[in-house]
Subunit: 365 residues, 4 copies
């Protein structure tokens, strides 16, 4: 941490900074420059869970509040367990799956993982038809919302536990693992009974009570990026889960909010290679939410793979025109069937390949 | 709602749109233009709570998914109870208060309300000292966080119920009503025991389970704007609370996320007059969070009042340099004492005045 | 400037940084911390006009390119002539004006200045009618576009020199000074013949050839903020003009681009007090462009004054429904007449007052 | 165009809208709905170049200014010559090139084009070394700035004509075509003497006088996206060039401005497939500017190709640590050599291939 003093700071103000640092067991290192006086801070300013207050973020805020201080610059990452420095090897999240030879799907390894399914579970017929189609095309994880956030209180909020039961039925039939959203701490136990991966949605990325709760769960967590979260905030949200003891966090880029109106969100593809540098956690991409437009989901899927994503999360609907939610961004089944081999080609060009479900006698391409 | 068809749409596609509308008890109205064919939709597309799915947002999404459809334009507001059209008179939220002559503080009426206090309750000494100072300077509501969201899991998350008890003690002493944050549905009952106004923080503006829960509470709710929420999304969040039967929602503008780095957030002052036009709900401003910089809190307070805000929410700390959170944006007590008469002057220039605590023998200015 | 090294940087990499600094007549100051190794840079890294390349911005970029370097942090402002540190007193720009007793209008002094007029000069009748109305209501500077940027090539691009002649005619009639936009270096001489203040529009804030050219002009310059410019970039654009020898730069906040769709731009009121701290240059506000909505121009005008703006720039049209440009954001004449005394009241509450045109026998309020 | 009236609009207000439309040779079509009254506008509201004012954008603004009007919705694109509807076939821009068998490089055809070189021409040695390296690795167009925009007036603004001469020398040596920036209308003739493609930089995307001027040039134009331009504004900027008679516009996505701080800009990869749908113009990607970080330029290059880009524009420097500009985002020569075959693999996976310079006896991969 570096404290930048005002050009006109007084000696007394400098002494006060040193006194503050001393009080918090930190050491200061004074440099008087022509332009500015700066004080380098030595010692552990990141703190550790369990110690009382006044650490990291707090130290920074407090220093900014001192007289004569112009700015406080952080020189190290505020997250630790999520950082590549702390954990140099890639984390590989293993999800049990009856539809692969190995009995697991590995996310974050050399293979790329296709997760697909409807935005929302609407009925048994809709779910089973979609599940069969994406399974046959090559998906190994089934997505589908049972508890859904809705911007409007008049909107559809999902089938609830009934939807979870249908997902479990689809798993029994096709062997695909299930990823589905959990909205509130009180539902974590229930959703965990049915889901193989718990999804934290974009609106809940900073719902810290929920992060704490899923951090205590035995299930892997798919953590979607908040719609206006910086990479640092996103990795700090992952850190919440990791500090509770759950090491299996999968990040999911799903678009950020910008001024552009032609797409629902602006998909930040650069987050994919950058997260790979900053963190050891796997990262997947959701081009359906990320764009809100079915007509570019294919191109953005290929881009995500080419940039290094460990998997895709794609909305598919047998009849998008009848979808209860997000019809505009759901692929038709035929579109998904066309996408799968294209995505596979790009993965191979990048020296990776998609996890194959066991049913497939022939290679996808 | 208006459906805009592709320039090259077919007659069959147009028929399909009509069939879809018919299926949902809606009527279509065809206009073939030189540039585009559009279909006006007649009937209630907003739906009402309780009716099953496929309404409003869903109808829109589904129409966007139909073949030949280029765009779907909404022509009416998606919120109803929160809208000025539905409820033309200003809502005035009454909060019991022992420090005014009338025994209540009215938010949304002609008077302007000053709410101030520390960002976070840190200790009895810190809270009581701040409470006394802001009370003597003219605040009628005391703010202070007991349950605090922290971007980092290593940060201070508040004193919890202990902090609530201290707030209650300050209320007993000075008569000011208490506003404090609640983070999760399970805590609503506990926080309601102590607080006069429940605050929903920016990160929870779209935590719908929490909105539902406080919608069933008997306490007024202060709903902060999500850091990247549009006005429409914000009013829809208010609609969640209103539909549960709680009419007492106070909106709070606290800055939005933009590319500018010189301030922590960009305070959207235009939201204040615009919300006044779109809605009947009172709106207050938080220039401390809104800017993150103590040195412009005064100017932004005056701007908020001048633009029509019904109140201010200001962070004050006896020793900002020792604050456990947000020291950089907390006013010193002397600064708050200076601000109060300035704000009062601007309010008067706008034909309003601040609610006076009873203790004040002389006028503030 | 501070160079932050990677956690795993080598001694050789550190030596290379020192060698680089040495080569550029700069001194390094090594601090090895527990978390990071940082190198403080001493010496003038901002450079001075005329010295060849490799200074300031370039030094920073080059350092970021060195092996082992994680980040480069600037600790001083990149602008100098525009900074408050360099020039502690407020700059007051004097504009000749036949409609004040003193014969000048002073922008940046204690008085607040009202500039108003049509977005675009459309005809003699429209201009003269608007000019008379705003003059009688209290404006001392007349705004009006003769050369207009248009997002579409099919849009109206202004009357050109004919429009300038009409502006001059209005000046002759009412004595108000004229502010009007110049779009390209080749037009600076022509526009200067007619205008008292040259306006640089938002799209040209980083048109450096144009900034150079107006920097050599004898006219004061009103520099609008780029629609996605940071305060630092804006002040650097002002620095371009100042370095060419023109000291009379007036900044104008006119809204920035954000995700919010309810307003055309998001007016960044906080830029007003912040610019006042960072710079000595006067700053005015344009709530017409800043919001794009006539119905909140009044509230935002008051907010701008309350936050410390030195003036307002307001679009007024006798018949907004017939305006060739921006009708939605132009005030009707009656609305302007209503605004003027309100704005005056708020200015007085802030211990300032509007410059009075000589014609006014009675005080505005 | 559709006019949405206020819920409470009067019959007189509706008549006024019809009168306005009639005055402008447009026809109205009234629909009274339960929620809203809307008026569909028939007739050509886009106008055509040459007709006087009051068209398209102006009509829209004027309608928004009418009493009783709540909103005006456009249902057709405001650009015409740039639109896919008007010109269904892909535009292929041909650039003369001595380093391909055919003597031209085709941009927008099935082949993908690699353009590379230094950000800025700094010296003969630097340019020739970079040119040789990128040529040998497979680039067919050489990029390099001679006239450079600099955020700071103290920054390096390029070598000017001297730089252009060096570019011409490199072309003579290696046969690669030259793309370089032009900053102001007065320089278009000069730069055209040397350059094969004129680049319009991000800060000048809405410098309409410059767009007009290059629209009259015989050279192809590479039009970079403004840093906060919507796709619509970008295509309207292209329309400026096209309306002047120059059909050869190449769009270049180079990142947009968002709240994220980890990258210099957020590269909007989704713009690539979306522009392909909206327009017939070719589009290339600049991952150097788009990210500002050398360490993810490779991943973003592959993503751009996978999403359908017609080419890449990449900054390469023999010694990025000595670069006068943008060292942090320039690839080292070895990195570029590594990227080329990777990019080629991804292109092949997408059924495309890079244009091959003639010198290459063997296939790149």
């Amino acid at each position: 941490m570096i404290v930048v003093m005002n050009a006109s700071c007084s000696d007394i103000q400098i002494e006060q900074v040193f006194a503050f640092l001393h009080k918090h067991q930190l050491e200061g290192h004074l440099s008087r420059g022509i332009e500015r006086t700066v004080i380098g801070v030595l010692g552990n300013t990141n703190g550790q869970r369990g110690t009382a207050g006044n650490i990291g973020e707090e130290i920074e805020g407090a220093l900014q509040g001192l007289a004569g201080v112009e700015d406080v610059l952080r020189v190290s990452k505020p997250y630790k367990l999520a950082s590549r420095e702390f954990h140099p090897e890639d984390t590989v999240v293993e999800v049990p799956s009856a539809c692969t030879d190995s009995g697991v799907v590995r996310i974050g390894a050399k293979e790329v993982v296709m997760m697909a399914g409807p935005c929302t579970v609407e009925s048994e017929a809709q779910l089973m038809k979609t599940a069969q189609a994406v399974y046959e095309a090559g998906a190994v994880i089934l997505r589908g919302g049972a508890f859904k956030p809705s911007t409007s209180p008049y909107g559809f909020r999902g089938m609830g536990e009934k939807g979870l039961k249908l997902l479990a039925k689809a798993r029994a039939e096709f062997g695909m693992a299930i990823v589905t959203e959990v909205l509130t701490p009180a539902d974590v136990a229930l959703v965990s009974e049915y889901a193989d991966i718990l999804q934290i949605g974009t609106r809940n990325m900073q719902n810290y009570m929920l992060l704490d709760e899923v951090g205590r769960s035995a299930r892997p967590i798919m953590l979607k990026r908040g719609m206006s979260a910086t990479l640092e905030e996103w990795l700090l949200a992952a850190e919440y889960i990791l500090t509770q003891g759950n090491p299996d966090v999968i990040l999911c880029e799903r678009g950020i909010r910008t001024f552009e109106k032609a797409t629902r969100n602006t998909m930040d593809i650069s987050a994919i290679p950058l997260v790979k540098k900053l963190s050891h956690l796997p990262i997947v991409a959701d081009p359906s939410q990320g764009t809100g437009r079915r007509d570019i989901v294919d191109a953005m899927s290929l881009a995500a793979i080419a940039s290094g994503a460990d998997g895709l999360l794609i909305e598919v609907h047998p009849h998008p025109e009848e979808a209860l939610k997000d019809g505009a961004q759901s692929l038709r089944i035929e579109q998904f069937q066309t996408l799968m081999p294209q995505a596979s080609m790009v993965a191979q060009a990048c020296n990776r390949q998609f996890v194959r479900p066991t049913h497939q006698a022939q290679p996808i391409i």
